[in-house]
Symmetry: C2
Subunit: 393 residues, 2 copies
DNA sequence: AGACAATAGTGCAGGGACCGAACGAATGGG
DNA sequence: CCCATTCGTTCGGTCCCTGCACTATTGTCT
């Protein structure tokens, strides 16, 4: 705490957070809720209006005697955060405004196989430029989700994106002139789950995403678990059943060899089955598998039950260690979740007391970009003075 | 941030933390290190001196040209925090002053078997009173370590202290007139490890303590992992090898049935061996076992190797999930650590990359009380204005 | 209809805290 | 002996919050 300038920032942030979390209210209510005086709140609100972050709304319906207050509400229009997801076969962009509304969403399939990182980032940059020209005016930052480990803005490990190791993602998007941060996709998805949807505000949550492998993101005490080398919460290579199937990491029995999408497809179909045609799009094959399961195909159901049980075994460890309020299943787990939850809960109940703390993600495949956009917005909530005063009188 | 009063508190805290972490220095250095101006630092130091938290030391030897500065240093004498440990067969008290020096240490064996919590707490209260009359003047708070789960100041679960469930520990020490907080013993031990000793300042650390069961405390990002119901970091009942030995929790295959002290004694000795005589003190039996191991007794060594391997299997999971800079072994693990580390590292290396991140605790059985005393001191560092101005001068 | 109570929002003086600059103090070097 | 250098303090200025007074607006009671 250097000087009173930071007091101002902190109080602006407190007022803004209050409006974000509790919705519109009068200046008097805001004063009561923040513990500041009405005079101070008036001054804070005036500054936030000048910065285009809040706006006066309707007059509050009286309800009881006394002069009615003028509602003050978050005005997200002037400011938005942009999330970008780089994945094996697609790019995605999503922009959130300050109020949490989606202002832009786009997706681009990467059907050219041998594309280099620089070229992919150039396309991502173009997508962001398009977003800013479209609905995402007033961008304050970009956060990029990558399926791998990240240090600073450099990709350090990326089992499914081997060519990206060593790439400085921020440098590739520097031409946009916005601050760029980079994060693991599962971590950002976990943040998305605690920032929106049914689990908004939950301070202790574990997110599991089923892809080819298994990704994990852990939020404890409202903070993302990072660990000493940034690999905290990485669940894919947990050694739960030593001596089992070989894993891409060189070891055996990693959890993702049990519950990854590859394991599901192997268990559900013979090698010559179209489900296991590596030339087909994974989402299509997953849709086929879901259709079979809904038709009641015995082998498919059995495979899914196996995945659910395997998930339960691992989730038991996660629940015991992290004690989360909920374990959220995303990625392909959410797609076929209806067939996973029962065996998962059964396996969980045999190992821990809290077997009902499992839920399916409702954010679908946009979780990572949404989390990225959310992260990009954080500086505004931390210090609203980062947004310049509007020139408008 | 309400007003500038809190700015003052924050800056006092910053100055104090700077002196604690970086040692004595002149006001000018302190100004440079905190980013505040010399004028402000002079004022802050004057107030900290008035509160008895810092003192002027020797004149700094010049070194180079210019007026030499007066060293300012932490003065711990006026203030101390008290840690109390309630365990199955003993009570322990330890007082730390602000500088981290031990000002009092005492231990009391509880040889009366059927003692009720109220009676135990009365003895603890007397021990604290004795400490305050002895070396621990200026106590600012008490933190009690209990071997179990805690909510607020009430014991919620205590497998080894069944009579204590529901006990309000703070109420039992209320007569001392000091703020009392209560925590899990392994959690407090973990905090002790990051506050003193070779791992001081490490922000990501896992602490494992071998007792009858196994306790765990996890620090991530400098914060204790608590979880949604306060059970985060509880490692004893991890389900690592389902279908194994029955555990006191009613399930099977819990980790503590593999690596707890009971498992070691069962593996190392026949039922009629004095090692397994339940009437003998556990520490004595442990000393005997250690002597046998040092004599090279094959069965003992084999049992210890088994424990080490079992520890490695579980530690692999912890390392993968929490990505700590180090896993510290305390309790009985530290006592027989010389025989555990090799098999532990071998098992770990088969499962994760970072197999060298294991160390033995050097704090011995005082870890929990030390952590408690440290926690009791925290409010002073968070807000130095909680310490009253001294009447002197 | 009019008076009164209750609530919302603003204006103004006051005080606390930090900053920047200037100044005295203490030391080593030339 | 003078000067550059560094330390610590003093003093005026600025910023921001507070508390109180004051106006504005509405409902209720007589």
């Amino acid at each position: 705490m250097q000087s009173q300038g930071q007091v101002r920032s902190a109080n602006l942030a407190a007022a803004l957070a209050c409006l974000r979390d509790g919705g519109p209210r009068s200046r008097a209510r805001l004063a009561a809720d923040t513990g500041l005086t009405k005079a101070t709140v008036s001054s804070l609100v005036a500054e936030l209006v000048e910065r285009g972050l809040v706006a006066e709304g309707a007059v509050h319906r009286p309800g009881s005697v006394g002069r009615p207050g003028t509602l003050v509400e978050l005005d997200g229009r002037g400011v938005c955060g942009i999330g970008v997801e780089v994945n094996v076969d697609y790019l995605a962009v999503l922009a959130l405004d300050l109020g949490g509304a989606v202002r832009w969403e786009s997706r681009l399939a990467l059907d050219v196989p041998g594309l280099r990182p620089v070229e992919v980032l150039a396309r991502a940059s173009a997508m962001v430029a398009e977003a800013r020209a479209g609905g995402a005016a007033g961008a304050v930052g970009i956060t990029v989700a990558v399926p791998g480990g990240v240090q600073g803005s450099v990709v350090r490990t990326a089992p499914n994106l081997p060519g990206w190791v060593g790439t400085d993602v921020a440098a590739g998007l520097a031409d946009l002139g916005l601050p760029v941060t980079v994060g693991n996709d599962a971590d950002l998805s976990a943040l998305a789950e605690v920032s929106a949807g049914p689990h908004a505000g939950v301070p202790d949550l574990v997110y599991l995403t089923g892809e080819v492998g298994v990704g994990g993101g852990v939020v404890t005490g409202g903070q993302l678990l990072r660990g000493s080398t940034g690999l905290g919460g990485e669940v894919g290579h947990l050694a739960l059943t030593p001596g089992d199937a070989p894993c891409g990491c060189g070891r055996r029995g990693c959890w993702e060899t049990v519950v990854g999408l590859g394991a599901l497809l192997r268990a559900a179909a013979d090698p010559d089955d179209p489900l296991r045609d590596p030339g087909r799009d994974l989402e299509d094959r997953l849709a086929d598998l879901l259709a079979r399961a809904r038709d009641g195909d015995a082998r498919t159901l059995e495979a899914l039950t196996g995945i659910g049980t395997g998930l339960g075994v691992g989730a038991a460890v996660l629940v015991a260690l992290f004690d989360p309020a909920v374990v959220v299943l995303g990625g392909y787990f959410a797609v076929v979740g209806e067939f996973l939850l029962d065996p998962l809960r059964t396996a969980l109940a045999q190992r821990v007391d809290a077997a009902d703390r499992v839920a399916l993600s409702t954010l679908g495949f946009t979780a990572a970009v949404r989390g990225g956009a959310h992260v990009a917005l954080q500086p505004v909530f931390t210090d609203p003075t980062t947004v310049p005063l509007e020139a408008s009188a």
